[in-house]
């Protein structure tokens, strides 16, 4: 066990993945000599050499396109895209090929790979460095989409992703890369894909969130409860696609109320899909309409306005109060 930040947990997982399976190789911009712009791959070039930790030319289509071929021919690429806002030049490869290779070859080929993507705002970064567009990937059948909210899950989910027979988009919430430390085992372990976690049990209302927002919601929930407010059950979705319906539905059936909090813009954010499924399957258990607390439907702004774009504490509280008083 070592106390690790989320980014250190990622580094530890990558090290274990490389050490544990010689088919694994890392691809990305500035991941070798520089150790990654966030230092996720620090030290790995020295440990595993330049054929396994590869500084690529500056080309997301090149990275993701060659990853398809690498994966189909016996290797397991773990690609780093520097920021979510820069994945789009490789979008074609993801949507048309990474996600569909298994379908399109009737199972003859597959593209097991992990695409690591730092995402989300609130680090005061320049333009285009704060996107939270997970919906594009969730909306693409064939991709598994995962995001951890803490260091322990980061390592376990990343190792599970590397072992998955299918491609996984692994979203890393930059806002909490170094926000706090947690005991993380030194040895390899996995946190299963497709399983949400109830991070805080409660009776009155279920709040579903993921990534960096989980921490915000946890604090708000505790503060509300401490001052005589509702008892909040907090579900960390962890895998965004496919959704762990069992955990979500069981919680909502218990509490009768659901609020979804995400950093992505509201329209067609994952909250929309969750609200639809909860309405379809839990309607008779609901005491109030499902509510979403999300970013406004506008492009992520330059950083001076970003705290007002993503869900604020006031908006999250108001969302919870709204379903409580319906």
């Amino acid at each position: 066990m070592t106390e690790r930040t989320l980014i250190q947990a990622v580094n530890s997982a990558l090290q274990d993945a490389l050490a544990g399976d010689e088919r694994v190789l890392l691809l990305g911009e500035d991941i070798g000599v520089n150790g990654g712009v966030f230092r996720a791959t620090e030290g790995l070039l020295e440990m595993f050499g330049e054929h396994r930790v590869v500084d690529t030319p500056l080309s997301e289509a090149g990275i993701l396109g060659t990853a398809v071929g690498l994966a189909a021919n016996g290797l397991i690429p773990i690609a780093e895209i520097q920021f979510m806002g820069f994945i789009y030049p490789g979008f074609e490869q993801l949507v048309a090929h990474v996600a569909r290779l298994r379908t399109r070859s009737r199972g003859r080929y597959s593209a097991p790979m992990v695409v690591r993507v730092p995402y989300g705002g609130r680090i005061r970064a320049p333009e285009l460095h704060s996107d939270s567009t997970e919906t594009y990937f969730i909306h693409t059948p064939g991709l598994t989409v995962v995001t951890p909210s803490n260091p322990y899950d980061a390592k376990g989910l990343l190792l599970a992703a590397a072992a998955s027979p299918d491609p996984v988009i692994f979203l890393e919430p930059m806002h909490i890369y170094r926000a706090f430390r947690q005991e993380v085992p030194d040895d390899p372990y996995t946190v299963p894909l497709g399983q949400a976690a109830v991070v805080k049990p409660g009776k009155d209302v279920t709040v579903i969130s993921w990534g960096s927002m989980v921490r915000d919601v946890a604090k708000i929930a505790e503060a509300m409860e401490g001052s005589g407010g509702p008892s909040v059950e907090l579900v960390d979705l962890r895998t965004l696609s496919p959704i762990d319906e069992d955990t979500v539905f069981a919680s909502v059936r218990r509490t009768g109320r659901a609020v979804i909090v995400h950093e992505a813009v509201q329209s067609l954010g994952l909250g929309a899909e969750l609200a639809a499924r909860i309405s379809e399957f839990c309607i008779l258990d609901l005491e109030a309409p499902v509510t979403r607390v999300a970013a406004w439907d506008v492009p992520p702004p330059l950083f001076r306005l970003e705290d007002w774009h993503v869900p604020t504490e006031a908006r999250i509280r108001a969302g919870i109060e709204r379903v409580m008083t319906f």
């Binding site: 030319p57 997301e60 090149g62 320049p126």
Partner: protein
């Protein structure tokens, strides 16, 4: 030996232009060094220094005509200022203020492109429109050596060649894309030679030599304006500092490299020439530095006088007209902020 031991004064460039090249380069350097300090002091956000690349940005832009388009990357705010974007807007931009995105109506500068190489097809399109509309206008798109690895670079060149577009692609080959050295971007010796594959003229210049850059761009503008189509110019240069203020170049390059490039510093070289031609002296230098320091100070003061950010800026330019849905969201935000202590909304 210096690249440009220009003993004889050039006859094809006026004194005004020579002095302009110099003073604008110094202006960018004074600005740049101040910005790095402001960032360290937490008064602006992450900032990508340009020091070392002044000749590339100044000489290329001064060779354009006022009506021509400058299409920049994040590092080309220097060129933007040379073409007429107010200094305080650049400061505001790097300070995360929406106001920093404003571009005066009579200044043909495109917004900063952050995703690598994506601006190059825009430059081609802007210039293509000029050609189709019969307007005497060219566009100059900046890019770095790393950008030559992206598809958009190749697609832009191909369109430019196929449609004989009056566009100039200007590569500031500063040897690195963050930590990745030029030799990892391409197996060719140069960027310039890639132009040939698209039927585009390709030239390579010394990017530390303002006059050489100026002449190359001037001739590319003349050719483009005369219907001679596109040019790719590769200028060899170096960024002395970090990729951005979040970067630590000691992780990937030896400091002696920068020292060697500084010996061919574009500003020092041009100053020596100007002095030898009798166009510059110590007194002029002192006066210039004082003037520029106070220009930057005044711009910083305007940035800092802005007051709190305006939340309406989230909404006001997303569409030509706000939809009822966004209208509702804007109302909700305004109401939230009214309740929120510390705002005077």
């Amino acid at each position: 030996m210096a690249d440009t031991a220009m003993l004889r004064k050039p006859s094809d460039v006026t004194d005004d232009v020579l002095l302009n090249l110099y003073t604008e380069m110094v202006r960018l350097r004074v600005f740049d060094r101040r910005c790095v300090r402001l960032q360290r002091a937490g008064r602006i956000g992450t900032y990508p220094p340009l020091e070392g690349q002044e000749a590339c940005q100044v000489a290329s832009t001064l060779a354009l005509r006022r009506q021509d388009f400058v299409v920049p990357t994040y590092r080309d705010y220097g060129a933007m200022m040379v073409h007429g974007v107010p200094m305080e807007h650049i400061l505001m931009y790097w300070n995360g203020r929406a106001e920093g995105c404003e571009i005066p109506d009579d200044v043909n500068v495109f917004p900063i492109a952050v995703p690598i190489a994506t601006q190059l097809p825009h430059a081609a399109g802007l210039a293509w429109a000029a050609k189709l509309r019969g307007i005497d206008q060219v566009a100059l798109g900046f890019f770095g050596d790393g950008a030559s690895s992206e598809g958009d670079f190749h697609e832009a060149l191909n369109f430019a060649g196929v449609f004989q577009i009056p566009v100039i692609f200007f590569c500031e080959n500063n040897q690195y894309a963050i930590s990745v050295p030029f030799r990892r971007q391409t197996a060719t010796q140069t960027i310039a030679e890639k132009a040939a594959a698209y039927g585009v003229r390709g030239v390579r210049v010394n990017g530390q030599d303002a006059l050489e850059v100026y002449r190359a761009v001037r001739s590319a503008v003349e050719q483009a304006a005369a219907g001679g189509g596109p040019t790719l110019i590769e200028a060899l240069t170096y960024r002395y500092g970090a990729h951005t203020t979040s970067d630590d170049p000691s992780k990937y390059r030896d400091p002696s490299e920068a020292d060697a490039w500084r010996e061919r510093d574009p500003i020092v070289q041009l100053r020596q020439s100007l002095v030898s031609w009798g166009l510059w002296d110590d007194e002029a230098e002192t006066e210039l530095l004082e003037r520029l320091e106070s220009e930057v100070t005044a711009a910083v003061a305007r940035m800092e006088a802005l007051g709190p950010p305006n939340p309406d800026h989230l909404f006001d330019c997303v569409y030509a007209e706000l939809s009822p849905h966004l209208e509702r969201q804007r109302r909700a935000l305004r109401a939230e902020l009214k309740d929120w202590e510390g705002t005077d909304q």
